[in-house]
Symmetry: C2
Subunit: 303 residues, 2 copies
């Protein structure tokens, strides 16, 4: 098992969907990522919270063995907050408010141990910060990056710089089209491969995820669920399962990357079944194995 | 190889997409279906055209070995015509005009040979006609049915009657929700299984197709294409590959049905690459095998 470092947000989310609402619930890209990845490999969070961040939330991650030595708790500051809502089309979140708070002045500085980690996930934050973290790493075996429309539009040059330094880009379909300035998804993914990452993973919500490399495709369906409550964190949980599995195996060969896609889809399928990390909190390794088997059956022509 | 009968439309389509336009091109559900199925098994078309139907189109189907003994050419009548358009979201067709013409008074009467066929496809037509054909069949091994919002809304009772007499329903996702009156797709599919068909195949355009049985799921992705020109006929071509493969094997066991889903997706992936049947006309059995292998690779964790 190899060490896995994630830099991203640890946040308090207020989310409403047609099925309910939560206020100031545990959220953030690094939170979902690290919780999911903790089922697979030792994971280290780089980030910052304010002094208002509930102790219970830190305990929750610590009980999963997540290392939070590099999660700064800043006195006198407030935690990052996101408020969003979903309509019946759960594929699209509407952001109502973002309070960067402590994250606005966050400047990561990694310890020698973190710098030496072979697996790195740059969650969806300012590409300047993503590059700063990447630069501090000694020689990672595999670096993956997530981003969003806000940075594609607002910090394109910095993002392009970050992309040249990563192996895998995880991105949703609309953002892939926006980044590549190309409406066809396959052409968009191939154009992105030219920008740096050798693997592009396109997340399509309830329609699954498509991986595009130079010439290959791999498709991981989404699990057909009878009840989807809240898609918040699904993409970060996917990344957690994906990177967690690769770090666990210490491998980056094509077969391992394909299996990692399935584990990503498996973990995301749990997250959306409840608000915040509620479903993940009830999760056992046996649940993960069982759903992985169900995913395999779902695409296997020999049932 | 077992005989396969299809009842449906043989039509002249006028279609515009963001990529071009065709006028009075060969179309119709039975046309796409039979052309695709002809690569797998002996297929027999039950339908009607007017005396204006171009001889070339009949020759085209005949060269593929499609039996058109039961395709009535009605003197003094006009062929069924459909005019539609697509925007950049190619998943949704907008019907501009439908002229039933000869189809309005079509009353199928099957020959003894057709009645004895073991495989039957009831393409998207009036459910009264679908039932009329089903009733004439001796004892089919497998009957599949396609339908659309127009019949779900306008002839619900007759459609429910038809569903009780079929094994497989092929339907798109919005129509599955409409038929079951249930927004969640998995619940909708399971509700439809209670209505009669033991297998429900939900077509989701560029997102692939999902098969739901009592407890199982099977997922066939759509092939990621760099150029999609016209989705007209994709669903009927899918059905042609699906039913054609089953008729070729003469089997209806779960593994064969799963392989049939992939052959359906393979055939549909060709149809959308050009207008009308243009891509299918250039198709060789080797092309089909090659793309089938590509589909398998696309979901196989051992690349």
């Amino acid at each position: 098992m190899a060490d896995l470092v994630v830099v991203g947000s640890v946040a308090l989310d207020t989310v409403s969907t047609p099925f309910g609402k939560v206020s100031e619930a545990l959220g953030g890209s690094a939170t979902y990522f690290s919780y999911a990845a903790s089922f697979f490999a030792p994971v280290h969070v780089v980030g910052a919270v304010g002094e208002d961040f509930p102790r219970d939330h830190l305990d929750l991650l610590q009980r999963r063995g997540v290392d939070m030595e590099a999660l700064e708790v800043r006195p006198g500051k407030k935690t990052f907050r996101w408020t969003g809502e979903y309509g019946f089309d759960l594929n699209e979140a509407r952001t109502l408010e973002t309070q960067l708070n402590v994250f606005a002045e966050f400047r990561p500085s990694l310890s020698p141990r973190h710098r030496a980690a072979p697996f790195l996930f740059l969650a969806n934050i300012d590409p300047d910060l993503q590059r700063e973290v990447r630069r501090q790493m000694t020689n990672p075996v595999l670096t993956a990056l997530d981003t969003m429309n806000f940075w594609i539009e607002g910090k394109r040059e910095s993002l392009l710089g970050a992309l040249r330094e990563v192996d895998v880009l995880l991105i949703n379909d609309a953002e892939a089209r926006m980044l590549a300035r190309q409406p066809n998804l396959v052409k968009a993914a191939r154009a992105i491969v030219e920008l740096g990452p050798r693997v592009v993973v396109i997340k399509r919500g309830e329609y699954g995820a498509l991986m595009v490399t130079g010439k290959d495709f791999f498709f991981a369906p989404a699990y057909p669920l009878e009840n989807v409550f809240d898609p918040t964190g699904a993409g970060d949980t996917f990344a957690g399962g994906f990177m967690g599995y690769l770090a666990q195996r210490g491998l980056t060969d094509p077969a391992s990357v394909r299996k990692a896609m399935i584990f990503g889809a498996v973990m995301a399928s749990f997250t959306v079944e409840d608000f915040s990390l509620e479903r993940l909190k009830r999760l056992s390794p046996a649940d993960i194995e069982e759903r992985y088997a169900a995913f395999r059956t779902m695409v296997n022509v020999e049932p």
